[in-house]
Each structure stands twice: as structure tokens, then as C-alpha cells.
Amino acid sequence: MSATQEFRIKWGMVIDLDKCTGCGSCMVACQAENNVAPAEDGLNRRRALNWLLVYRLSNGKPFPDHDIAYLPRPCMQCGKPSCVSVCPVVATTKDEEGGIVSQVTPRCIGCRYCMASCPYHARYFNWHDPVWPAGMEKTLTPDVSVRPRGVVEKCTFCHHRLMAAKDRAYAEGRDPEKLPDGAYVTSCTEACPNGAISFGDVNNPEHKVHELIKSPYAFRLLERLGTDPQVWYVSRREWVRRLGDNYLNNEPTKG
């Protein structure tokens, strides 16, 4: 088991599930921003590429007590990623300030061991060559490489945006290692119409997320497995928080 690596800067995401309506804007924005190829068979959810996927949660109760929630799931950028230590060719690493788990697609051999290790299903394999409908290739983001068939890909917290924000800071004579709140946000954060997604450096008291993660209603997915995710969720509904982890019947919900 790999040990948790600590970074001075820790880019984190906080998603308020009580604000999320499941509209899917975040998914679309992610898809467009990161040049995620349209799936050959979009109905096959087990083969569709979704770096960010919105799950529908239900409390399982009949009307009138029935309640639902939507849970957007990007890569958790785990503090102790199960995927990094297993990759045989160092194609995925967690070694950069900020704690984003990288995916080096030109080095990936496509063994899919990282996918087997990830309990969040945040990793996707390119089962087919990427094909865009005619003309759509002109809309590709120039800062993001497209991936070939046979490699694994995943959410990178829009890492190219971090690079761009750092470049901007250099150009403006600011310290690129001290980006102000909002200088670097992911495309899903930007696209959410309800402001359900917040993004920033959770170690930096000047960033909003620093406070948000301290909420008594904040939780992380599958925390007890020890992955130490860098994505927090917030919900005032106890049943939603309980679905964030596996509990034995006699155990109380955290948070």
C-alpha cells in the first residue's frame, strides 16, 4: 500500500449535492474541454467515456418520502491513489505540487490494472479509435492531447488550465505557486449553473474550499478504504451522506 503524499498545495473540489440538479452541464463541459471522443455506442454505459459522470442516488423510499440526489463523480485525485502504485510502467503518477493524479497516455500500455484498482470507476479505456463527427474536430481544445485506441484516460482536474493559470501568473509577475482563488478552476466548476461545484486549494485559507471542507455535512466517497480523496461532497441529507460510504447496519453515518 502506498503512503499518503503531502503537498503544500492541494487542489480539491467540493460538490454541494443539495444544489446539484443533475442537469449534466458538468459532463458536457468536461467532454468538450478535454477532447473526450464521442462513444461508438453511447447507450453502452460500460464503454462510454465520461471523465465526469453524474450518478442518480435514491433513498429507496416510496412516495411521499421518496427523495433523490445527483452525484457528479470526477477522478477523486486520491491522496493515496490505488491506481498509481499498481501501474507497471509509471504511466500514472502523483508527484506534482497540487496533488493531481496524472495520466501519461503516451506511456500507457493499456493493461487496465489501474481500472481494476479504482473503486470509483473513474478510469476509462479507449476501446475504439477516437472519431469525431465531420467538422467537430475543429472544436477540439488545442491544449489537450487526444488519446489513441488502447490507452486509459481519466479526469485530470483540467490540468492544462492549471498550466495556463501559472503561465498567466508568470506573465503578470505574480507567484505561480500562489494562485488566488478562482485563478484556476476546472471546466465543470465553470459550467455548473447552480454553483454546486467549488474548486481551489484546500490547504490555502484564502480559498473558499478551505472552509467548505470543514462543514459538518462534508464527506468523501469510500473514505474508510483509505484512498484519501481530494473531492468532497456536501449534503444536509443524512441518507445522501450515508450513501457516500459502506456502513454496517449498526454503524452511525459520519458527518
Binding site: 450518478y55 499498481v86 501501474c87 510502467v89 506511456r107 500500455i109 481494476a116 473503486p119 483509505g226
Partner: protein, 419 residues
């Protein structure tokens, strides 16, 4: 000049000294369906390489499927090569010389077959060498890549002298000298083989045991090695030699000739009985620790580990009891082991149990939802996956058939078939 005996098969000059073989026509005809099977498998492999893994039934939930289970299964069954080799050359159990050649061939086929499948199974086969170029020393899979390829080379080195012993080839002085010298250094390669194979059998188990976010397979362990590391070694040495015996017996049934004496088979069975029993003791302890330790820690219960018929409790029962404790007991007790029917059934059960173990650890692990709001998924391999596996089976059949026909792999054959 010696006259040609037209009663003998056309290729009789290539047969090992003093043994009988069927006619060349009969031999070729028996290979026809196998070759057709191999061609179908070859087409499947071609489609996978040409069009990518999209032609398989694998998906983002089941990144591992039939092929990985197949690889792990055949590598465990092929463990007869390294374990029998170690016993024969390092511990000097002389009797095993009568079956060691077949063990080497079976081992070579299992490992080379597994490597063939792995080439298909990775998304970027042309980058397969990255495992050497960019190795991640923390990954169990890196160890597997290193050890499997190195051990396959060792098996080739062990197989080459057998090929050189063909009656015609050995007439060549160089081939004769080479075969002789290879035999002299065989204990060295048996040692290297034992080391490499032990480690990668363990690493294959370790591959699953380290998945700390997958409660179905995660295990604690000793130092950097999860318990599955040791369980895989024990299970492989517990069933591998028995698989070699089963292959020898199957060959006897097909050819109608005695190839290995009963006492040699019994010795292999005894060795397996001891090793498989040790394995079962630890496997049962491991299962109890998993139920009462790992699962509650992950907030899960034993009942959550099963789903319907396809991933039902019967798999665990079959693996641990019917194909676990039962064959271990039957092989361990001399009075049961010495009855041929019970002996062979026990061998079959033990091998089946280990294959079930490899299957559930590969597929059921991935089928089980870890996220509380996710659901069970099911997986069934498609024609491309079955086809490629069939290709390996056909390849193994053909190599075994050719080896049996032309190479002196069974030292006892002449003696056992004296009329």
C-alpha cells in the same frame, strides 16, 4: 544399405528409439480439427490486433476478464514445471526424471500461451516492452512482467535440449554436444526457474491482494506481500504437478500407450497432496480473516460478496470444499490416493479449484459494486475472447503432439510397453 521397412510410418526415422507411433496419415488427420480450431482462434487474435479490444466483451467495469483468468489459471497449472524441476534437480528426487520432460513442455506451453494472450490483452501491444523501459518498482505487475518473460526464457532453455534429442537431430555432433552441456547446467536453470516462478506466482496473487480499495480481494500480509502472494504460490505448487500427471494420463488414453509408471504418478500425487493441504489450511484461515476482518473494516458483509447464480455462494463452496478440502484430503491419505479413480478425480478437482480461485479473484472482484449506489455487473466473454483462448489450446495440443511423436520425453515408455 539398410532396406526400408514399409510397415513403419513414413516418418519412423524421427521417432524416439524403440517406441511405436501411429501412421503419419492418422497423426495428421487427428490434427485437422485442432488446426481448424487454431485457425479460428488466429482469426480472433487478428481481429483483436487489427481492430482493437473493442471486438471483445471487455469493458470499463471488466477491464480484466476471461483472458486474465485464463492466464492466471494456466500459469498456476504450469507450475508443475518449476516445482517438479526444483524437486528433481535441487532436491535430487530421482524418480521425477520420468515425468520432468513433460512438466517442462507443459510449463513452457502454459507460459508462452499466457504471454500470447497478454499481447492481445494489452491495449497497446507495441508498447509491451515499456514494462522493462519504464518499470514501476512498486507494482506487482512489473514483477510479473519481468519474471514471466525471464522464466519463459528459462523454459525455452530447458525445452531446447529435449528438441535436440530427436533421433535425427542428435546425430549432428554440435547438437549432441549442446544437448549434453545443457543437461549439465540444468540444475542451475532449475534453480533460476524455481526462484523466478515462485516470485511471479506470488506476484500474481499479490496483484490482487494489494488492491486496498477492492474489498473482495484486498488482504493484509507480511511486509510488502499480501497473503494472496503466498496463497498463490502454495496453490500453484499444490495443483501444478497434478496437472502434469493429468496431461500424461490424458496422453496415455489418446495414444493407448503407457507413458509414466503408476508409482511416479503416485509420488507426484503425494507431493501435491501435502502442498495442497498446506494451501487449504492457509486458504481457510485467510477466508475467515477476510470475513471477520477485511470486510467489516470496509463496512461490508459476507453476504454482499455474492450475487445471483453467476456470482453465487456456490463458487466459494466449490472452490473451498468440493475442489479444495476434499481433493486435499483424498490426495493426502495413501489409501484413497492409491485408488486410481479417486486419484485422478482428486487431481481434476484440485486443478478446478485453483482455476475457480483465479476466476473469482479476477472477475467477481470487478463485478462487485464498491460504491454503495453502484450495482452488480455481469460479464460473459464473447467469441473473440474464447477464440483467442482456443488458439492457445490448439497451439499447446499441436506442440505436445509433435513432442510426443518425435522427442524422447518419456524415459519409461519403452520399458512400460514391452510386449
Amino acid at each position: 544399405m539398410e532396406g526400408k521397412n514399409y510397415n513403419l510410418p513414413a516418418d519412423a526415422a524421427f521417432f524416439p528409439e524403440g517406441v511405436e507411433r501411429c501412421s503419419l496419415l492418422r497423426f495428421v488427420l487427428h490434427l485437422v480439427p485442432i488446426v481448424l480450431l487454431g485457425l479460428w482462434g488466429g482469426y480472433a487474435a487478428f481481429r483483436v490486433l487489427a481492430s482493437g479490444l473493442g471486438v471483445t466483451a471487455l469493458d470499463d467495469y471488466f477491464g480484466f476478464g476471461l483472458w486474465i483468468a485464463f492466464d492466471l489459471g494456466v500459469i498456476a497449472l504450469g507450475a508443475g514445471a518449476f516445482f517438479s524441476g526444483a524437486l528433481r534437480y535441487l532436491l535430487n528426487i530421482d524418480k521425477l526424471k520420468n515425468i520432468i520432460n513433460l512438466a517442462v513442455i507443459v510449463g513452457f506451453l502454459c507460459y508462452s500461451g499466457a504471454m500470447l494472450i497478454l499481447v492481445l490483452d494489452i491495449g497497446q501491444p507495441l508498447r509491451a516492452w515499456f514494462g522493462y523501459w519504464h518499470p514501476n518498482v512498486h507494482s506487482m505487475l512489473t514483477e510479473v512482467i519481468f519474471c514471466i518473460t525471464c522464466y519463459c526464457l528459462v523454459l525455452i532453455i530447458e525445452y531446447v535440449p529435449l528438441m535436440l534429442e530427436n533421433r535425427q537431430v542428435v546425430k549432428n555432433r554440435f547438437a549432441h554436444a549442446l544437448a549434453h552441456n545443457f543437461h549439465l547446467i540444468m540444475p542451475l536453470f532449475a534453480g533460476i526457474g524455481a526462484f523466478l516462478s515462485t516470485f511471479h506466482q506470488g506476484s500474481l496473487g499479490g496483484m490482487y491482494g494489494v488492491l486496498f480499495a477492492r474489498p473482495y480481494v484486498f488482504r493484509d500480509g507480511f511486509f510488502i506481500w499480501p497473503w494472496t502472494f503466498f496463497l498463490y504460490i502454495l496453490s500453484a505448487v499444490g495443483c501444478g504437478p497434478m496437472f502434469t500427471v493429468l496431461v500424461a494420463t490424458f496422453m496415455e488414453k489418446i495414444t493407448g500407450r503407457k507413458l509414466v509408471s503408476w508409482d511416479v504418478k503416485l509420488l507426484m500425487g503425494k507431493i501435491c497432496g501435502v502442498m495442497f493441504s498446506i494451501y487449504m489450511v492457509f486458504k481457510l484461515i485467510d477466508t475467515v480473516a477476510w470475513i471477520f476482518g477485511i470486510l467489516p473494516d470496509a463496512g461490508m458483509t459476507f453476504n454482499q460478496m455474492f450475487y445471483g447464480w453467476i456470482y453465487g455462494r456456490w463458487l466459494l463452496f466449490a472452490e473451498l470444499i468440493v475442489c479444495g478440502v476434499l481433493p486435499a484430503y483424498l490426495l493426502l491419505r495413501a489409501r484413497y490416493r492409491e485408488r486410481p479413480a479417486l486419484f485422478y478425480i482428486s487431481g481434476l478437482l484440485a486443478c478446478t479449484g485453483v482455476v475457480i480461485n483465479r476466476y473469482v479473484m479476477t472477475v467477481q472482484t470487478l463485478a462487485m459494486p464498491v460504491l454503495p449506489f453502484d450495482r452488480w455487473e455481469t460479464y460473459a466473454p464473447n467469441w473473440a475472447e474464447w477464440g483467442a483462448s482456443a488458439m492457445v489450446f490448439a497451439y499447446a495440443w499441436i506442440v505436445v503432439a509433435l513432442s510426443y511423436r518425435y522427442l524422447p520425453i518419456f524415459p519409461q515408455e519403452r520399458e512400460l510397453n514391452k510386449k
